[in-house]
């Protein structure tokens, strides 16, 4: 099974130049209250996240619901106000770009959405949906040329030419996701942000769409951030994986290293939660169950955010925030390693 899931060789396409550099990113959503609607608190959805993405690389962002992984993806697209930190894309600091300045950048960064049913305008045909980015960025002058390009894109994502004049409701979930991918690829982006692109699909369809992602990435050399909570899917597509917990990255490492040798107690617990396909092995396996609930992102616990649930917590964990520092082949934020 694992032979099927993992790819034998690391991607050769990965180059060493950084395409995206996120530095100490914080996204806080203010909560207004009281008589004058003053800011009384903030949900710290992303609280000091730093990572670098290399050209041609796929970075998996994993973590449980509410850990800020989707928010991080949206922030890179500049679809959310950034509280502090820096987002540097292709050497340009886009943190404070307004929507007008972002427009040429939007051609370089595209997004694939989670919900294949909501992300396509039900009143538009495939030709219009996939052709819209081309129209916005004035890439293929007239309708006939755009249509030609849309055909190419449909072919690329494995859809038939004669589907071009259909409406989204005439497609299955997997097909719609392919249309969404075609739309994202239309403008030849350099960075693709995939926000749980397969989690709404049936398992059998998931595999097809994941394979499509890989094919396209190998062929086009696009860098991507792959947000997901399904560790098996992430393992399949990523070169490196960042594990997030409550708005921070707790461990970031190459895929093989992370799965073979998880360091952070939270990563270990996540890995242990992946079911083993063999029922006999599964039944005899020790389960590391994390106790308790995810604390509120409004008032995260002091020190290490994972300490209230950590089986290996030490006194220092309650006081000092662990920094993300190199450990072995990756980086981990845990006092056990400092």
């Amino acid at each position: 099974m694992s032979e099927v899931l993992t790819r034998e060789e690391p991607r050769s396409a990965v180059k060493s130049n950084v395409i995206l550099d996120v530095q100490d990113l914080k996204i806080h959503f203010p909560i207004y209250g009281g008589l004058f609607q003053r800011e009384v608190a903030a949900v710290k959805a992303v609280d000091g996240v730093s990572f670098q993405l290399y050209e041609g690389e796929t970075l998996g962002l994993v973590g449980e619901s509410g850990c800020g992984k989707s928010t991080t993806g949206l922030a890179v697209l500049r679809m959310l106000p950034v509280t502090s930190g820096k987002i540097v894309f292709e050497g340009v600091d886009i943190t404070n770009y307004d929507q007008k300045q972002m427009r040429p950048i939007r051609r370089r960064i595209q997004m694939v959405y989670q919900d294949p049913f909501g992300s396509l305008d039900p009143r538009m045909t495939v030709a219009d949906i996939v052709g819209e980015p081309l129209e916005i960025h004035k890439l293929h002058g007239n309708r006939a040329e755009r249509r030609e390009r849309v055909m190419e894109l449909l072919e690329m994502v494995g859809l038939r030419h004669d589907m071009i004049d259909r409406y989204p409701h005439q497609f299955s979930g997997g097909q719609r996701q392919r249309i969404g991918i075609a739309r994202a690829l239309a403008v030849e982006p350099r960075l693709l942000i995939c926000d749980e692109p397969v989690s709404a699909l049936d398992v059998s369809i998931q595999a097809q769409v994941v394979n499509l992602f890989q094919e396209l990435q190998d062929k086009l050399g696009i860098s991507s951030i792959f947000v997901a909570h399904d560790l098996a899917v992430v393992r399949h597509v990523s070169n490196r994986i960042a594990v997030m917990y409550l708005g921070t990255i707790v461990e970031i490492s190459s895929r093989d290293e992370l799965y073979a040798n998880p360091k952070h107690p939270y990563t270990k617990a996540l890995m242990a939660s992946i079911p083993v396909p063999n029922p006999i092995v599964e039944a005899g396996r020790a389960h590391h169950i994390i106790k308790g609930e995810v604390p509120s992102a409004q008032r995260p616990p002091p020190g290490c955010r994972f300490h209230p649930r950590c089986p290996q917590a030490m006194p220092i964990c309650k006081e000092k925030v662990p920094e993300l520092r190199p450990e072995g082949k990756g980086m981990v934020a845990c006092h056990l390693f400092s």
Partner: protein, 301 residues
């Protein structure tokens, strides 16, 4: 292989220009929505009657025939005559012109105002939404009639003040309905997708939001047509609408016909039936239009 290339060439050449789109639309209307088609036909008949009233009417709309006062319907006077001896059929034809023009243009104006206000406030939100919606609150708190009396006193009675006032009133009130529809559409992820691929506000408003709020827009328009024709009737009754002797259906329904309701019921029946028929058929047509314009309702796959 040859077949495959043939079809793909055909698809390539079907470059979105469809000259038969209108013909195709009407074919679908008659095939899939017979009731809506009937509504469209009735509306067209009334439009035709209004436009060609001069040719079709056997008498003038203000041609008084004292000998023939309050005659019941007959071969000579199809819908009878009124208390002044005027042919009601002729007045209905001329009235169609007035009522249909007022109905369509005031409802059209109202719908445009509703759509522009509703879509911009609903999508942009924030302070702009707050300001405009408080203005709408204030506007709606004025009694319609009082404003109308003031406006008519200033500019004088006539068709255009009536269209303007009714259009503004219904339009501003209706913006709430469109706004609430926009609020749910704008949260859809296809709107988010359009933003993230770099679509500007104008594109999102008119290319994504408007088509997706078309169902309430069409319903709003069709119900407004009936409402306007009836509102014009009550205004005419107060002497604030189109001044007599111009024959509006509302005026015919509410004017002197009330005094003669028992003696000559046909005086009120004819305009009443026509009014009902127009309102009903516009609603039927609107419903059919709403369904036909929705790609999800198409039967063929």
């Amino acid at each position: 292989m040859a077949e495959i290339t043939d079809t793909s060439v055909a698809i390539r050449q079907a470059s979105t220009k469809r000259p038969n789109a209108i013909v195709g639309f009407f074919a679908r209307l008659f095939r899939e929505k017979p009731l809506g088609a009937a509504g469209a036909v009735i509306c067209l008949i009334f439009l035709f009657a209004g436009v060609f009233a001069d040719l079709l009417a056997p008498y003038g709309y203000n041609q008084i025939m004292p000998i023939n006062r309050m005659k019941p319907p007959s071969w000579q006077f199809w819908f009878g005559t009124d208390n002044l001896g005027r042919d009601i059929f002729s007045r209905i034809l001329y009235g169609a012109r007035l009522s249909v023009i007022i109905g369509l243009s005031a409802a059209g104006l109202a719908t445009i105002i509703s759509v522009v206000l509703g879509i911009t406030t609903g999508y942009l939100g924030g302070k702009f939404d707050m300001l405009v919606q408080r203005f709408v609150d204030a506007w709606m708190s004025f009694p319609e009639l009082v404003v109308l009396i003031v406006v008519v006193a200033v500019v004088g009675p006539g068709m255009f003040p009536v269209i303007g006032i009714l259009g503004c009133f219904l339009g501003i009130a209706g913006s709430r309905i469109i706004r609430s529809a926009v609020l749910s559409v704008r949260e859809q992820s296809y709107i988010h997708a359009a933003q993230s691929i770099g679509g500007g506000t104008q594109r999102i408003l008119w290319r994504h939001i408007l088509p997706n709020v078309m169902p309430p827009v069409i319903v709003l328009f069709t119900t407004r047509v009936g409402a306007v024709i009836l509102a014009e009737a009550s205004l005419s009754f107060l002497g604030l609408g189109v001044p007599p002797p111009a024959p509006s259906w509302g005026g015919m329904l509410t004017g002197s016909s009330r005094n003669y309701m028992y003696l000559a019921p046909w005086m009120a029946l004819a305009p009443g039936i026509c009014l009902t028929l127009v309102v009903f058929s516009i609603n039927m047509f609107g419903d059919a239009l709403r369904d036909l314009l929705d790609p999800r309702m198409r039967t063929h796959r």
